[in-house]
C-alpha cells in the first residue's frame, strides 16, 4: 500500500501516456490516432502537475489572510501546464484540419489505404 500511496499520481500519468502510445502504435484510423495524441498530451500535463504536488498542500493563491506559504504547492509547473494545454489545443486543431483534407482527397481515413495510393 505504501508504494501505491507514494506513486499513485505517477502511475495515473504514465498510465495515460502509455495508453495513448499504444493507440498510436496499433490503430489505423486517423481520428483514433488523433485521440491517442490527445490522451498522451493529457498524461504529460498530469505528470508535470504531479512534480509540484505537496502532501496536504493548498492552491498557490493568497485569497484570505492566514494562509501559510510553506504549505502551498509549487506554482511553476502549473504555469507551464497552462502553456502546454494551449499548445495541445493548437496541435489538435491542426491535426483535425489535416484529417478533414485527407478524407476529402482520398475518401478514407484508413492509414494503410492512404499509403497504398501514395507509394
Amino acid at each position: 500500500m505504501d508504494f501505491l500511496n507514494n506513486y499513485i499520481f505517477y502511475i495515473g500519468a504514465f498510465g495515460l501516456i502509455f495508453i495513448g502510445l499504444y493507440i498510436l502504435l496499433t490503430r489505423k484510423n486517423l481520428i483514433k490516432l488523433i485521440i491517442g495524441l490527445s490522451i498522451v498530451d493529457t498524461g504529460v500535463n498530469l505528470l508535470i502537475i504531479c512534480m509540484g504536488y505537496l502532501k496536504n498542500g493548498t492552491a498557490p493563491i493568497f485569497s484570505r489572510k492566514g494562509l501559510n506559504p510553506e504549505t502551498m504547492v509549487d506554482p511553476t509547473p502549473q504555469a507551464l501546464v497552462l502553456t502546454s494545454i494551449v499548445i495541445g489545443v493548437a496541435v489538435l486543431a491542426m491535426a483535425l484540419s489535416l484529417a478533414i483534407r485527407l478524407y476529402q482527397h482520398y475518401g478514407t481515413l484508413d492509414m494503410r489505404k492512404i499509403k497504398e495510393q501514395k507509394w
Binding site: 505537496l54 506559504p69 504547492v73 509549487d74 506554482p75 478533414i100
Partner: protein, 226 residues
C-alpha cells in the same frame, strides 16, 4: 503480431521510466524557484494568484509566444481548409425548440461568466485563457442550437487582432516607462482588490478576448467543413 510488439516496447519503456522515477522523492516541499515566487510574488507583482503572476509577469514574454502559437494555429487551420472550392453544406437537422430556447437564454450568461473569469484572473483561479475557452464554448452552443444564424468571421478576426495588438502595445508602454518589455508601470494597489496588480488585468482582458475570438473562429471553420 503488431499489438504484441507494441506491448513489449511499452513494457520496456515503463521499466525504464520506473527506474528513473523511483529515486525522485514525491510530495516533498518544492523547488527554490517556486518558493521564491510564493514568497515574493505579492510584493513584486501585486497579484494574489501566484500562477497568474508567473504567467504574466515573471514569464510574460513566454505568454506572448504562447498567444502567437494559438494565432498561428488558427491561421494554419484557415489556410488548410480555405482552399476547398465546393462548399457543399450537408443537410442540417433543425434543432428542437428546447435547444433553441435554451441556447438563446444561456448564451449571454456564458459570455458574462467568461468575462468574469478573465477579469478576476489575478484574484481567483482562472485567467485569460480559461475565460476565452468558456466564451468559445458559448459560441459552440450557439452554432449547435441556432445553426441558421451565422456570425461573420471578419468580426472574430478584428477582435483577435485588437487583442494581440493591445498585448504588444502594453508591453511597449512598459518599455518606454521602465526600460524593459512588459514592465509593470501601473501602480500595484492594495492586494486582493479588483483594481490591483498593475498591467496584469489589462493584459488578461486582451488575452481573454483574443483567445475567445480565436477558438470561436476555429469552431466556425471546422463547422463550416462538416
Amino acid at each position: 503480431m503488431r499489438k504484441i510488439f507494441s506491448l513489449i516496447i511499452l513494457i520496456i519503456l515503463a521499466l525504464g521510466v520506473y527506474i528513473c522515477i523511483s529515486e525522485i522523492p514525491f510530495g516533498k516541499p518544492g523547488t527554490a524557484v517556486g518558493n521564491y515566487y510564493i514568497e515574493k510574488g505579492i510584493e513584486e507583482t501585486g497579484a494574489v494568484n501566484i500562477v497568474t503572476s508567473i504567467v504574466l509577469n515573471y514569464r510574460g514574454f513566454d505568454t506572448l509566444g504562447e498567444v502567437t502559437i494559438l494565432f498561428l494555429a488558427s491561421l494554419g487551420l484557415g489556410a488548410i481548409l480555405a482552399t476547398v472550392q465546393n462548399k457543399t453544406r450537408g443537410v442540417i437537422t433543425p434543432p428542437s425548440l428546447i435547444l433553441t430556447t435554451a441556447c438563446r437564454f444561456l448564451f449571454p450568461f456564458i459570455l458574462m461568466f467568461g468575462a468574469y473569469i478573465f477579469l478576476h484572473g489575478h484574484l481567483t483561479p482562472g485567467g485569460g485563457f480559461q475565460g476565452g475557452a468558456i466564451i468559445a464554448s458559448g459560441f459552440l452552443l450557439r452554432y449547435l442550437g441556432c445553426p441558421q444564424k451565422r456570425i461573420r468571421q471578419s468580426s472574430f478576426v478584428a477582435i483577435e487582432s485588437l487583442g494581440g495588438i493591445a498585448f504588444i502595445i502594453i508591453g511597449l508602454l512598459g518599455f518606454t516607462a521602465g526600460g524593459f518589455f512588459l514592465f509593470n508601470f501601473l501602480p500595484k494597489g492594495v492586494a486582493n482588490t479588483l483594481l490591483s496588480a498593475g498591467i496584469i488585468p489589462l493584459i488578461y482582458i486582451a488575452i481573454g478576448l483574443k483567445v475567445g475570438a480565436e477558438m470561436a473562429g476555429i469552431i466556425d471553420t471546422l463547422i463550416e467543413e462538416s
